[in-house]
């Protein structure tokens, strides 16, 4: 009997999609042959605001590109402008930024783990992941005053300190998170029902992820050995770590890499707080930026690129943010080719899509 071909629209509204994206899935019986994505349901034109806002005010716009990656968007923008202006950020501020970066990575990865568990119908695992996540959100709130949008970055440094009592609270919280995550890790990595949904599903080879321009844990789970933190921005040049990679390339490996990265973030927070130097939080910044720079930071979902161009005015000429999900969408389409229709929601989740970031 001839196989039946049809096109099934997926999204923009779907239970596994916290944000809207649309895919046209060409299927042959239950197998996907081709996937064509459409975006733009929440395009806000944030980048064009640079021509109207003062470059200092743009920090707050950059932070609102996305709620989950908020801190790193602010930091990436600030570091771009600081580089153009030749501003030397105080060492303490660089360490504080690094601590907040890693706290953001922990809450983002725990958010994703919960969504993944929810995606394959393991409700109690979803609850556990989000319960653990509350601990780190409490620490973000304690240190910045906000749970997601922190607004502690400014061009020239940071506006809040992490006091010794806060440092103690963070170290206690990450110790608890580490203990509880080990329990959750056993379920993710050993439970047969989880394995049956993730192992061998959506495999991408190292060659494919490099050819498709993929980035972040999605690429590292296929053996791509790059992590922008190795570039040494913030305080990463002083910290000891190696990118976490897996050669396997399936959905299970993506889960494994992200869990390992949470443990790595905990270690980096300990290292950074352990050698946190005294000093100022910021330096005064005078004048306006004049020049251009490409800054790359490692967000929870991968490499983000901030292009800033200025010509000595209070407002910038151009800001372009290339977000990790934007880079990972071609990889997602490749992953979907040949997949069973029933696996589509999980495969979309495995790139950890952030559509707010993508559309800006």
């Amino acid at each position: 009997m001839a196989k039946k071909r049809s096109v099934i629209p997926f999204g923009p509204q779907h239970p596994v999609l916290p944000e809207p994206i649309h895919l046209d899935l060409m299927v042959e019986d239950e197998k996907v042959i081709k996937a064509i994505p459409s975006i733009g349901f929440i395009h806000r034109g944030l980048e064009s605001l640079v021509r109207k806002k003062d470059y200092n005010e743009m920090v707050y716009v950059a932070e609102r590109t996305c709620g989950i990656c908020s801190f790193m968007h602010g930091m990436g923008y600030c570091e771009s402008v600081e580089h153009i202006m030749g501003v030397e950020v105080p060492v303490r501020a660089r360490y504080l930024r690094t601590v907040w970066c890693e706290m953001s990575r922990i809450h983002s990865h725990l958010l994703w783990l919960g969504l993944l568990a929810d995606g394959f119908g393991f409700e109690s695992l979803f609850y556990q992941c989000w319960r653990i996540r509350e601990r780190i959100l409490d620490m973000v709130e304690l240190t910045t005053g906000g749970r997601l949008i922190s607004s502690v970055n400014k061009v020239g440094g940071v506006i809040r300190d992490i006091e010794p009592d806060m440092q103690t609270a963070i170290l206690h919280a990450v110790k608890e998170i580490e203990k509880e995550l080990r329990v959750v890790q056993k379920t993710f990595m050993n439970d047969y029902s989880v394995e049956s949904r993730l192992k061998g599903v959506g495999v991408l080879t190292k060659k494919e992820v490099l050819e498709l321009g993929c980035t972040g844990p999605f690429a590292r789970a296929s053996g791509a050995n790059f992590d922008m933190r190795v570039r040494g921005y913030g305080a990463y040049a002083d910290l000891d770590f190696d990118p976490i990679i897996s050669p396997v390339g399936d959905s299970y490996a993506r889960c494994d890499v992200r869990i390992q990265e949470i443990f790595q973030s905990i270690d980096l927070i300990r290292q950074a707080l352990g050698q946190l130097p005294d000093g100022d939080l910021s330096v005064p910044v005078k004048g306006n930026p004049d020049g251009e720079y490409f800054m790359r930071v490692e967000q929870p979902r991968g490499e983000a690129v901030y292009y800033v161009r200025a010509s000595g005015k209070k407002n910038l000429d151009r800001l372009r943010i290339r977000t990790p999900t934007f880079a990972n969408l071609p990889g997602l389409c490749k992953t979907l080719e040949g997949a069973d229709y029933a696996d589509i929601p999980l495969l979309i989740l495995t790139i950890d899509p952030c559509i707010s970031c993508t559309e800006r």
Partner: protein, 125 residues
């Protein structure tokens, strides 16, 4: 202890007619396309194609400067996943990119406003 500290970014301004040749060179060298960015500066488009050599974290940007009416060849024949970047600069900036492998016909972003925003917006300032 101690990590690789990133080398400075390299910016290479090239004539538009050798763009494809330079992109092929980058691909043969194992470099990854990181981003393509369009800017409208002084009545011209500046198109920046950034490539990363991930073993050294070196970022190299190829830049072409063209008039608004000049057509630019798509690089998707060489790097298929560039179609997102190219569709974006075609739709939002009005860059005349020719031969994109997946051409959304200015509907990558499902927005109600008429595109492109540039150079119309600049002229209105």
């Amino acid at each position: 202890m101690g990590r690789v500290v990133c080398p400075e970014n390299i910016l290479e301004e090239i004539p538009a007619d050798i763009l494809l040749r330079k992109v092929i060179e980058k691909k043969k060298d194992g470099q990854r396309l990181v981003q393509i960015c369009a800017s409208y500066v002084g009545g011209k488009y500046e198109l920046s194609y950034s490539f990363s050599k991930d073993s050294t974290y070196q970022l190299t940007t190829l830049r072409i400067v063209i008039d608004p009416e000049t057509e630019v060849p798509s690089i998707t024949e060489i790097i298929p996943h560039a179609f997102f970047h190219e569709n974006e600069m075609k739709e939002l900036f009005g860059v005349k990119v020719i031969g994109i492998n997946v051409d959304y016909k200015d509907k990558l972003y499902r927005i109600k406003e008429e595109t492109p925003f540039i150079p119309k917006e600049k002229e209105g300032e």
